[in-house]
Symmetry: C2
Subunit: 308 residues, 2 copies
Amino acid sequence: MIDLLIDKIKEKQNPTVVGLDPTYEMIPFYIKKEMLERYGKTPRAVAEMFLEFNKKIIDSVYDLVPAVKPQIAMYEQYGLEGIRAYLLTIEYAKEKGLVVIGDIKRGDISSTAKAYASHIGGVEIEGEYYDLWKEDGVTVNPYLGTDGIEPFLKYCKERDKGIFVLVKTSNPSSKELQDRLIDGEPLYIHVAELVKRWGEDLIGKYGYSKVGAVVGATQVKEGEALRKRMPNTFFLVPGYGAQGGKGEDLKGYFDKNGLGIIVNSSRGIIAAYKNDDEFADEKEVGPEFAKASRKAVLIMREDLQKVM
Amino acid sequence: MIDLLIDKIKEKQNPTVVGLDPTYEMIPFYIKKEMLERYGKTPRAVAEMFLEFNKKIIDSVYDLVPAVKPQIAMYEQYGLEGIRAYLLTIEYAKEKGLVVIGDIKRGDISSTAKAYASHIGGVEIEGEYYDLWKEDGVTVNPYLGTDGIEPFLKYCKERDKGIFVLVKTSNPSSKELQDRLIDGEPLYIHVAELVKRWGEDLIGKYGYSKVGAVVGATQVKEGEALRKRMPNTFFLVPGYGAQGGKGEDLKGYFDKNGLGIIVNSSRGIIAAYKNDDEFADEKEVGPEFAKASRKAVLIMREDLQKVM
């Protein structure tokens, strides 16, 4: 999966992953109206809104970006219908040739960790194999240690999938635990060392492991230091755009070949029409809203290409 | 929620929570056969197996225990159908008067954390309110700090729900991060201090907060020390039974009134028929398999009552 991801980044000369994290507020009026009329004020209606919204965004940017990252929480809040929209979004993105990173941040132990790993490993039922979630990679939480990660490693190897382990997140309170010093170094560095160990047997043709790390765009120095410390670890970088990160901040996150990271932007791309004068009249805007997302991707690509 | 949980623990004189964590392997042959015939080798079949299995267990023990804790991962691995079984299990347990703790271990930031908090907060769609997940409380992961917890606190307060934050888990590799020393004390103690702070405004009639902690049964000394340090924090204790914890180990986890914890057992209760001579012929056993679960609950209750 990591080789495929890097192939696509190189092909499109763009290390951007589009965060498909819709909220009710960002759905264009014309989609809301249609789905409320069709399904009433129901979770089904919102699920259909999210799916239609995502499809329009994907149609508008799939030739420019290597990957999308749907955030499962946004769908999960609408229950079963929401999760159905998550699954259909993944299917649609894969049909368009995109790599899909499920932002699920799961983490548990033993048989439970194994069950979560089915996100990338599928399940077998009396000899029949089902790939029900279809993500190419997922994000995972390291707090429970190796027990929680091992089942994912198995599928990284056997099914060529990938994981991105939370190392340093982009939120202000990440410092409460992640920055606390253990033997003179912050907790997240110790997590980074575990991530290296977990991934050392899973390194692909570009020198990067199938076990990646989530490293926020808002901690510039930390990101640079981690790049040096983790030369074989690919970074998934949230926090660009709406959370404050800029291209120039990411210079030290790239390796000398301009590879090594994929940068997520969610709101900044998918809700771009809200800040675009061309679509100022929200009640009037139609499917062309997604053009603003394409513009936002092009601007971001340029911003990142400057420092690659 | 915490008051309701303690009311029920007192009423039933039993601090046991039954972990509804079914696996394919533990489903009795007669249920497997029926569902495979009806639905083929499909996720739907397994979902129906889990639901039928859970109902039989619940019917057999609901008068003896205060709560159940379905582990969402076991259902999630079977995709949408699995999650439907999770939801229907919760509904069934609530109809029987049980408190339901969703073992979801979610953790994320900002709008994403808010979305996950819908597990206990529900969602509003154009003024219509939906409680789609129906858990009374859920487990959460602290690695991202306060940002990831705040949305849950809101619903603990507004909707009288509860959370249990992972502090010290019962798995061997929990030591890799959780036991590392920060300013002379292990990481999990720092998490414990955050948990106290998060819960300090949410204390109920028994002196316990709606913000609880997950503290494994396999670290006896740590559990005792945490009880002293966190007099207002209720503990959800995994690791009893199959993972090695015993009643006598938990003496120091209880407060002087015999309250303060709820002890989870999953396999030890729900798959009890597998180790019960009465049901030795697995191919022959029918719905009476659940009697073994009732026996296991009675034995566990006795074991815990000795030290309460």
